[in-house]
């Protein structure tokens, strides 16, 4: 028997949430996929004068991108309360729903990602492909690599922006409801994609190239993050209150304060490490301490991207317009 009449649902109870770690992880992996798509496209679009074989740079990055997205989608699937109705996503297109657009866009993103991944494969990889038709397809696609890379680049940017639009479209959640959020998520996605490329690339030149790219992206990420907070601070009371958990060390908001403290260590820390890397003349192969430093800075970037997704997803649900309905 129910003996209390509180009238409070999870959404009006601050410590109960609409979306949890599964959605945060999906947004992180979606962003990482977007970054991996863009960076693998950039890597393979850069060189023009060399032969196709030499062009094939970061071969494994486009191959891992569909897997990352699949894992992310799995977490999103876990979050659905009524999984047997999932087919309804593809029975209708709701023009004003970002989630509806996103589910349809996946049907375009996946084929482009996979076709690009096949087109990049050098011929010595063909024996590892499981089916004969895949070998034939990879050989057929190889001359179209640059076109597919361009399409993959565009799809990656759209996917990166989408992960932010998904949250920023909700006027009810002041922390999310900012035009800067999709920009932040895109830059963070690109930065984490570059970090993944640094970890996965076999060529030292590619590692150094992505390290340089990541320095600029990290500066942009910090700039946009500060801009997002300042934009909220200078906006309405609901927006100002929405960022306060990040600056409150009371037990209720401690995780959010910790997330800001960690970000202010992790992101500048990664920049410093990367500066140290690019200042050194890497004449020989990158090994030992230099390699550890490079991987550490890339790992810091990935940790930063993960913290941003978790902090924004959770804190956004603490911010609600419904608490401003009183006449007092």
């Amino acid at each position: 028997m129910e003996t209390t009449i509180l009238g409070l649902n999870s959404a009006t109870f601050p410590h109960l949430h609409i979306w949890d770690w599964r959605v945060a992880l999906y947004l992180f992996l979606g962003g990482l996929t977007a970054g991996a798509m863009v960076m693998s496209s950039v890597a393979n679009l850069r060189k023009d004068k060399s032969s196709l074989k030499e062009k094939a740079c970061c071969v494994r990055l486009p191959l891992i991108a569909p897997l990352l997205l699949a894992v992310g989608m799995f977490f999103l699937f876990l979050d659905l309360e009524n999984k047997k109705n999932m087919f309804w996503f593809y029975m209708t297109l709701q023009p004003l729903s970002p989630m509806s657009w996103g589910s349809w866009a996946l049907l375009a993103v996946y084929p482009v990602m996979i076709l690009f991944g096949l087109s990049v494969l050098p011929e010595e990889f063909y024996p590892r492909l499981p089916f004969a038709f895949l070998k034939r397809l990879a050989a057929t696609l190889q001359p179209q690599m640059r076109r597919l890379a361009a399409a993959n680049f565009v799809m990656g940017i759209l996917l990166g922006v989408y992960t932010g639009v998904l949250l920023s479209s909700y006027v009810a959640r002041p922390l999310w409801n900012s035009a800067l959020l999709p920009v932040l998520f895109l830059i963070s996605a690109l930065s984490s994609g570059a970090a993944l490329a640094i970890i996965m690339a076999k060529q030292d030149k590619a590692k150094l190239f992505f390290t340089k790219v990541d320095i600029w992206l990290l500066f942009a990420e910090i700039f946009v993050l500060v801009g997002l907070f300042y934009g909220h601070y200078s906006s309405t009371e609901a927006h100002r209150e929405a960022i306060m958990p990040f600056f409150d060390i009371s037990s209720q908001h401690f995780p959010y304060a910790i997330s800001i403290i960690l970000l202010s260590i992790v992101l500048p820390g990664a920049i410093v490490l990367k500066f140290l890397e690019v200042r050194v003349d890497h004449e020989g192969p990158i090994v030992g301490r230099a390699k550890t430093q490079m991987i550490t800075s890339a790992a810091l970037v990935l940790v930063g991207a993960l913290i941003i997704r978790f902090a924004i997803v959770y804190a956004g649900q603490l911010s609600s317009l419904s608490r401003y309905t009183s006449i007092y």
Binding site: I5, A11, L80, N82, N85, F89, S97, A172, Q317
Partner: protein
């Protein structure tokens, strides 16, 4: 075709919570979940205090963010202007919950999202919603905005009313009278 709305006369609410009980009983709302609530807000310093009792529920907005956010069309607008959920299409993605500025929705244990339906199973047969039927102070008034002779239309003409969060632009169809004077001496 009617265009249903609700008017809540906050001066008449005594905070008995009977509306919540009636709603839960009528709609078999699971324990710990609510389609309507009565928020209590106090202001001032003791002993000079004021209290606001504010019944809250789905506002059945004309520009409903939940309907826009729904990726499957499960949340939709009916011809009578009310916002309803087609449970058979709901995937439980909770986008509507994130989109609702009034936090009026919850996840039903059956897996679909649920909220106030203006008791559409009752209004279809000419009855008022359960919360309106049971309200002892006559605080909740339900009716057809398209009928100029309905009680709600008359009261909306005669009083200064407000809606919740008008700045969001959702055009809610739950209105509030909150000028605190003696009931019966409306001005």
């Amino acid at each position: 075709m009617p265009r249903y709305a609700m008017l809540i006369d906050q001066r008449r609410c005594v905070g008995c919570m009977a509306c919540i009980v009636a709603c839960k009983n009528e709609n078999k709302v699971p324990p710990g979940m609510y389609r309507t609530r009565v928020a209590e807000t106090t202001a001032g310093i003791f002993p000079k205090l004021r209290m606001e009792l504010r019944s809250e529920l789905c506002n059945h907005c004309d520009h409903a963010p939940c309907v826009d956010a729904c990726p499957t069309g499960a949340s939709h607008k009916e011809a009578d202007g009310s916002v309803q959920i087609d449970k058979s299409r709901c995937v439980g993605c909770k986008a509507c919950m994130a989109a609702c500025p009034y936090d009026a929705r919850y996840v039903h244990p059956d897996g679909h999202v649920d909220k106030c339906s203006f008791c559409n199973h009752r209004t279809k047969v000419g009855k008022a919603p359960a919360c309106v039927e049971t309200c002892i102070g006559g605080s909740r008034i339900f009716g057809d905005l398209n009928d100029p002779n309905s009680e709600i239309s008359r009261r909306l003409r005669e009083h200064h009313v407000r809606v919740l969060l008008p700045e969001v632009g959702t055009k809610p169809k739950v209105f509030y009278i909150n000028r605190f004077s003696t009931p019966g001496q409306e001005g």
